[in-house]
Point group: C2
Chain length 380, copies 2
């Protein structure tokens, strides 16, 4: 006797406007790209498309790194891929922590059996380069400096260029979380000397969630090749994945895992749109929409959590006004306006909203909708 | 100065008939489901859909296991999730190896610092329960028995029911690779006493590639909860993912990673179609199409690699006839008929073709196309 099958109807999601911390609004042509016919993951046409994804990712990251690809899993697997591949047990990593994702980096360091030296900054503040330099001086055995460029939990931008310069000065490789940064603010992997960087598909690329762009500098690849122990994860082992993404100098693609074919169609399309717009234009568009949002929220008496100099245009953390019911407002926006904004995370739960203007979401009509809907709900 | 963006056209894949080892032909409504509007991953409507996915997976696996979910990554990450969560360093795992994926299990065991006792069977033969029992007797310290139900590399079915009974008899938890099995042949997780099982979305479920269904028995969950050390992977740590999939007894969903929202729409739809067809009908359909293929290939003088009793209906490994150019035939099928079949893997490279009749692919028109196209190409 078999268990009885559940009776389930086809799922019909409504069209929401996604102005939370991600997933962001997805480009219509990206959604459509996913529905194209699935190819075999070793089909020459698909392999050719993966080569284009690589070239487009190199542009988005502003790098010539040969090892540039998309991990077949979400951004948190991209983070893990950096740590399990580059860091070996017993090594020391300086981890900057000014929000949820810095803390997650620390946990990743510990799970590879390495030693994390944490440099804390207050939630809502950027990483302090002086504190980082003090840690680098105090821990000359450190091999890595890890930090989050754009902290999604607080809406803070840290000075990636300055931090990577410090890493280089003290003989460390830099590991940079660019999940929310990529495509939304200036990011120059080669010019800034970033050694390992990862992102997510569902933020300023406005692709569907589930993929993690990744790039390793030649120095990071050297470190990977010089490992004394195998990478603890088989799935994330970039020495195996390298062959699959065809980085082995034109040698035949070797089978590693089955690529998420249709998700990669979506990433291809979203990166293509970013390249067609041009990075400078995308960065400027995010900055402009942020200014419009700032002006409108200020009129509503809503304050930003982050000082002006450290604000991310694509992720606006604002204080929930006194006496306002956090969940009731977000629920009203969702149910009555099909509009999603984000709750506070961790230490900011109940205290902040996070308003994302990411990728395709960073448009004037979205800012207008949000300002009007929020004003109406707050007046109730 | 920024690097110049590459000029890339939208990708337009042709419609192929996918009769390789996976990805299989995807149901049209599954492709369409992916293109539906992206919801936030904490949206109540999306959370409700995840609950339906869980119920549908329980049906597909024939289990009441509370911990039943889809890992947000391909099947090989599902394999890794089983080993990194359940097995701790120093423990012993009996690993049955009769193809590529048994060997991959062994590598996973070693990467968690555990000891793998390998029970080999010839490629193309099922796992031998007598040899397994001898290993269980010789290694009383073993905590796990791991094997592949349906070996994708050779087209062989092993007797999962008998092997799980042996595991139970000798006090081991069973870890079963059901990547190619799920939906294609009889699989009864509860009745057979399977403790940990994983699959892939892109085989007999005929969903897009990228997700790994997973289920742990209460005994496996106990083992997980009794761990002395943290799970080495943060991304695959099921003690964290449990909260995300809402298994924590109705408590609020906690944020772990951003779910691959649109891929889960696709899985929901493919599982819904399987439940609507009914497992018995799906199993019978695979068996019927296999018989048609067998009859037709026999007429063409093409022999099966596997003895009749051990053949998988959904993955037909056949000998490449003497004097036939492997790659030339596959290329002709792909280019002239938009028809993909699989090459041999590992020890069978150049010696075998793998013809998949999986899920939506297991249809009479596909068998007919393959037989006619292959006959024409072999006559050239």
């Amino acid at each position: 006797m078999l268990l009885v099958p559940p009776q389930v109807a086809p799922f019909q999601p409504p069209r929401r406007t996604l102005l939370g911390p991600g997933p962001s609004d997805v480009y219509p042509s990206v959604l459509a790209a996913q529905a194209k016919p699935t190819l075999g993951h070793l089909d020459p046409l698909f392999v050719g498309m993966m080569d284009e994804v690589k070239a487009l990712l190199q542009y988005a990251f502003q790098t010539r790194n040969e090892m540039t690809l998309a991990v077949s899993a979400p951004g948190s697997a991209g983070m893990e891929a950096c740590f399990v591949n580059l860091v070996e047990a017993g090594e020391t990593v300086i981890v900057c922590r000014n929000g949820v994702f810095g803390e997650r980096m620390r946990q990743n360091v510990e799970r590879v059996g390495a030693h994390a030296v944490v440099v804390d900054a207050e939630w809502g503040k950027p990483v302090d380069p002086q504190a980082v330099e003090a840690a680098l001086q105090a821990h000359p055995q450190a091999r890595f400096l890890a930090f989050v460029h754009a902290e999604t939990s607080t809406g803070v931008r840290s000075d990636a260029q300055a931090l990577c310069a410090l890493a280089k000065q003290y003989g460390c490789l830099s590991i940079v979380d660019a999940v929310t940064a990529l495509g939304g603010i200036e990011l120059r992997v080669d010019d800034w000397g970033i050694d390992a960087v990862y992102s997510g598909s569902q933020k300023c690329l406005s692709c569907v969630p589930g993929l993690a762009p990744l790039s390793f500098s030649p120095a990071a690849v050297e470190k990977l090749k010089a490992r004394k122990t195998p990478v603890q994860s088989w799935f994330l082992d970039q020495t195996l994945v390298m062959g699959y993404w065809g980085n082995a100098n034109g040698s035949k693609r070797s089978y590693h895992h089955t690529a998420p074919v249709n998700a990669l169609y979506a990433l291809h399309e979203s990166l293509r749109l970013l390249a067609a717009e041009g990075l400078e234009h995308a960065w400027a568009r995010h900055a402009q929409q942020h200014q419009l949002l700032l002006a409108g929220l200020t009129e509503l008496g809503i304050e930003f959590l982050v000082e002006e100099s450290g604000r991310l245009p694509q992720l606006n953390a604002v204080r929930i006004p006194a006496g306002v019911d956090d969940a009731a407002v977000r629920t009203a926006l969702l149910n009555d306006y099909n509009l999603e904004i984000g709750a506070g995370l961790g230490a900011l739960a109940g205290k902040a909203w996070r308003i994302g203007l990411m990728g395709y979401g960073a448009r004037r009509e979205n800012v207008a909708l949000l300002l009007q809907a929020l004003a109406e709900v707050l007046r109730r």
